[in-house]
Symmetry: C2
Subunit: 403 residues, 2 copies
C-alpha cells in the first residue's frame, strides 16, 4: 500500500465513455489498497474551443487573462470525474491548482512549478479519498492563475508524485507505451519495456509525443518511476521509465522524427572571439528556440555557423539576422526549408563504434541525402528532406531492429 | 469621482457583440473618472450547457463538485471581458471569487456571503485598473468553491459595493428598469423611476424577475443605492432603488404575478395548542418552502390551515402530510392546482382604506374568482386560477394606474 499518481490526458477524458474507462483504472489501484491521486487534463477539444472563443474577442489576449480562461478546462474535468467516482460509490474529491496550492513562477502560459503544498492532498488521502487534481495549472505567489504550457499536466503529475513521495507515476495516454519508432510510420516497431530517463528525454525532445521532456526531467531529478500506459487497453503493459537500465534492454532504444524544421547558415563570419556568443545571444533575446548547432570553418579564416529552428520561427529569425548582419560580421545568411530531423536514441551510442556508420549506410542504401549531422552521448541526429523522413525512419529502424 | 459597481447578467454578456455593449457602459463610467468594479454572470447558456454535461455523468452530483463545475462559467466571462477592455486600451484585470476572496458559509449551491476581503480589489483600483469580478461564487473557510444560488451575481455586486463603500451599484439587465406590471402582460405598464427597498423586496419576491430579493436585502441593510438599467439601451434611465421614497412617487408601485402555485388545505385539525407549529415544523424539516398561510376555524371547534407551495413541491408535500396525518390530528388533506398569486405592492397600503376593496372590485368586474387573500403592510395578494392571472394583472393595473 502506497501512494500512486495517475495522469490522464485530454483524449483519455474526452467524453463520458472514456471517463468510465479512466474510472476503472483508478478503481483498480484503489482495490489494491493504494492511495490514489489522479491528475487530469481538459477534455478533448475543450481547450481548442476556449481558444476559438478567445479569438472572437481578441487575437492578442494578455497572457494573464488567457490563463484565467483556459484553466477552466481542467476544472471541468476534475468535477466530472469526481462525480463519476462518487456515483460508483467511492470517496473522491477534486482540487484545482490553487486549492492545493501548486505554486509556480510568474511566466503566464508557460509557467514552471516552484513547489507543491502537500498537506491538503495528504489529509484528503488520509480521510480515504481519491484525490482528483487539475493538471496544467497553478498559481504564482500573487495568487494569479498560471498555466504550465505544453506537457503541463504530465509535469503536474510527476511533481505531485515527487511532493508526496509516491511509489510511481502512471502516465495514461492513447498509445500503449513508448515504441522503437512511431507505429504509424514503421509497422513493425516494437514496444519498449523499459527505458532510462536520459533516453526518454532524447526520445521526447526528438518528437516521440508520448511524454513531455519537462515531466521526464523532473522524474529523473527525483528518481520517480514513470509508467506510460494505454487508457484504452485493459491490460496495458506500458513502458517503464526509470533510472537504471536493465541489461537485456535494447542497445538502441528508438528512432524518432521531428518535422517542420529549417536550417539557417550564417556564413563567412570573421574568426574573432565572441561572434558565436553574440549570434546566439541575439536569437535568445528574441525568444528564438535554436535546436541543433553545427559550427565549421569556412574559407579564408572565416567560419560558418549552421543551426536549426522551427519552420514557424524561420521568417522572424531571418529578419533578425539580416538586421544584425553587420553586427555579426557575417557575409551571408542562407537557409533551407522543409527539413526533418531523424534520430536514433540509446545509452552508450557514443561508446559503440559503428552506430553512426550503420545509420548513414541505411540512409545511403535508400538514396536519402543528409543535410546535417549532430551527435550526443546517446543520440545521433541527421537532417533530411521532409519528403524522405518517413523512409529514413523505416530504413534506420530496419537496420537496427530487424537485421 | 468614486467607486461604482456595475453588474451584468447572463443575457447581457451572452456573446461578443453584447460584451461590446457592456464595455461601452464600463468605459462611460471610467471616462467620468470613476473607479469601476464590474461583476458578471456566466454567458447566456453556459451554465445550462455545463449542467447538461453534468447530467451525462450523473443525475445526482455532489453539491461540492457541482459548484466546482458551474463556477467556471463566470471565470470564462471575466477573462473575455477583461481581454476586450484591454484590447480597447484600458487597464483591466479579472478576479475570481477565491482570488478576492469572497468568503461564504458552507452551503454548496446556495451559499451566503459572510464577508469580502476588500484589499485586493482596492489595490487594483488604486493601480488604475477596471476590476472585473466573477459573480455567483465564493469560497468557504476551507477554501472550497461555493456558488450563491439564484440571484447570486446580483448579491455579489451589492455585497462588493457594501465592502468597498461604493457610491452606487448599477444592475444592468435586459429590461429598462422596474415597471408597474410586466410589460409583456400589461401594455400600458409604466416604468417606476424610484422605489424603496421594501417595496422592491415585495416586487422581487412576487415575481418581478428583475432583481433578486437577496440582493435588495443586502442593499437595504447597508443603504446602497441600486440602479436597475438596460444593457441594450444607450441612455437607459432605469429605476433607482433606495431607502427614501419621494413624495411624488406612486402610491401603488406595481402589480405582480407568480405562477405555478398550488394550495393545500389541512382540514379538521383539532384545536389544540402546538398543532400549527407541528405542521410547519414537519414541512420545514422536509425543506418545503411555504408561501402564503391562512388559518381559519372549521366546523366543530376544529381548524383549517391553508397554505401555498410551488407546484413542483406539491406531490412531495402531499405525501409528507399523508404520512403525518395522524400525528397532525387532521381529518382531511385537500389541494387545488394551477393557481397564480397576483399582488399589488406599495408602501402604506395598510394605512390607506379602500385599496383592498378597489382590488377586489377590479377582479369582480372581470369575473375572476378569488381563492385566497393575504395582506401585509405593503402588499395585498390574491390567489386566482392561472387562466385568469394575466386578466387579473391587467384589471388591477387599470384600476390603480389608469382610472
Amino acid at each position: 500500500m502506497g501512494i500512486i499518481v495517475q495522469k490522464f490526458g485530454g483524449s483519455s477524458v474526452a467524453d463520458v465513455n472514456k471517463l468510465e474507462m479512466v474510472a476503472e483504472h483508478i478503481i483498480d489501484e484503489v482495490t489494491k489498497n493504494n492511495e490514489v491521486v489522479v491528475v487530469v487534463s481538459a477534455q478533448g477539444k475543450t481547450t481548442d474551443r476556449l481558444i476559438f472563443e478567445e479569438e472572437e474577442v481578441t487575437k492578442n489576449p494578455s497572457k494573464r487573462e488567457h490563463d484565467v480562461l483556459v484553466s477552466v478546462g481542467e476544472q471541468i474535468t476534475i468535477a466530472k470525474l469526481t462525480m463519476l467516482l462518487q456515483k460508483k460509490g467511492y470517496n473522491a474529491i477534486s482540487l484545482t491548482g490553487w486549492q492545493i496550492p501548486i505554486i509556480t513562477n510568474n511566466e503566464h502560459t508557460n509557467g514552471r512549478i516552484r513547489y507543491i503544498h502537500k498537506d491538503t492532498i495528504l489529509e484528503l488521502l488520509d480521510a480515504g479519498n481519491i484525490v482528483v487534481v487539475a493538471g496544467f495549472q497553478g498559481i504564482n505567489e500573487a495568487g494569479e492563475i498560471v498555466t504550465l504550457g505544453r506537457g503541463g499536466s504530465d509535469t503536474t503529475a510527476v511533481s505531485i508524485a515527487v511532493a508526496l513521495g509516491a511509489e510511481k507515476c502512471d502516465i495514461y495516454t492513447d498509445v500503449d507505451g513508448v515504441f522503437t519508432a512511431d507505429p504509424r510510420i514503421v509497422e513493425n516497431s516494437k514496444q519498449i519495456k523499459s527505458i532510462c530517463y536520459e533516453e526518454m528525454l532524447e526520445l521526447a525532445s526528438q518528437g516521440a509525443k508520448v511524454l513531455h521532456n519537462r515531466c521526464v526531467e523532473v522524474a529523473e531529478k527525483y528518481n520517480v518511476p514513470l509508467y506510460v500506459k494505454s487508457t484504452f487497453e485493459k491490460n496495458s503493459i506500458g513502458t517503464l521509465v526509470k533510472s537504471q537500465k536493465n541489461l537485456e534492454d535494447l542497445f538502441i532504444n528508438g528512432v524518432t522524427k521531428d518535422d517542420y524544421i529549417s536550417r539557417i547558415t550564417v556564413a563567412g563570419i570573421d574568426n574573432q572571439i565572441g561572434r558565436t556568443y553574440r549570434l546566439f545571444k541575439i536569437l535568445s533575446d528574441n525568444k528564438i528556440n535554436v535546436d541543433v548547432i553545427v559550427q565549421s570553418f569556412g574559407e579564408h579564416v572565416t567560419k560558418d555557423i549552421a543551426f536549426t529552428v522551427k519552420m514557424s520561427d524561420l521568417n522572424k529569425t531571418l529578419n533578425i539576422l539580416e538586421e544584425n548582419k553587420e553586427l555579426l560580421h557575417a557575409k551571408e545568411i542562407l537557409h533551407s526549408e522543409n527539413l526533418s530531423k531523424v534520430s536514433i536514441i540509446g545509452v552508450g551510442i557514443a561508446n559503440k563504434p559503428g552506430v553512426a556508420a550503420d545509420m548513414f549506410e541505411a540512409l545511403y542504401e535508400n538514396n536519402i541525402n543528409i543535410h546535417m549531422v549532430s551527435t550526443s552521448e546517446i543520440k545521433i541526429s541527421v537532417l533530411v528532406n521532409s519528403n524522405d523522413a518517413n523512409k529514413a525512419v523505416k530504413a534506420i529502424h530496419d537496420k537496427f531492429f530487424n537485421d
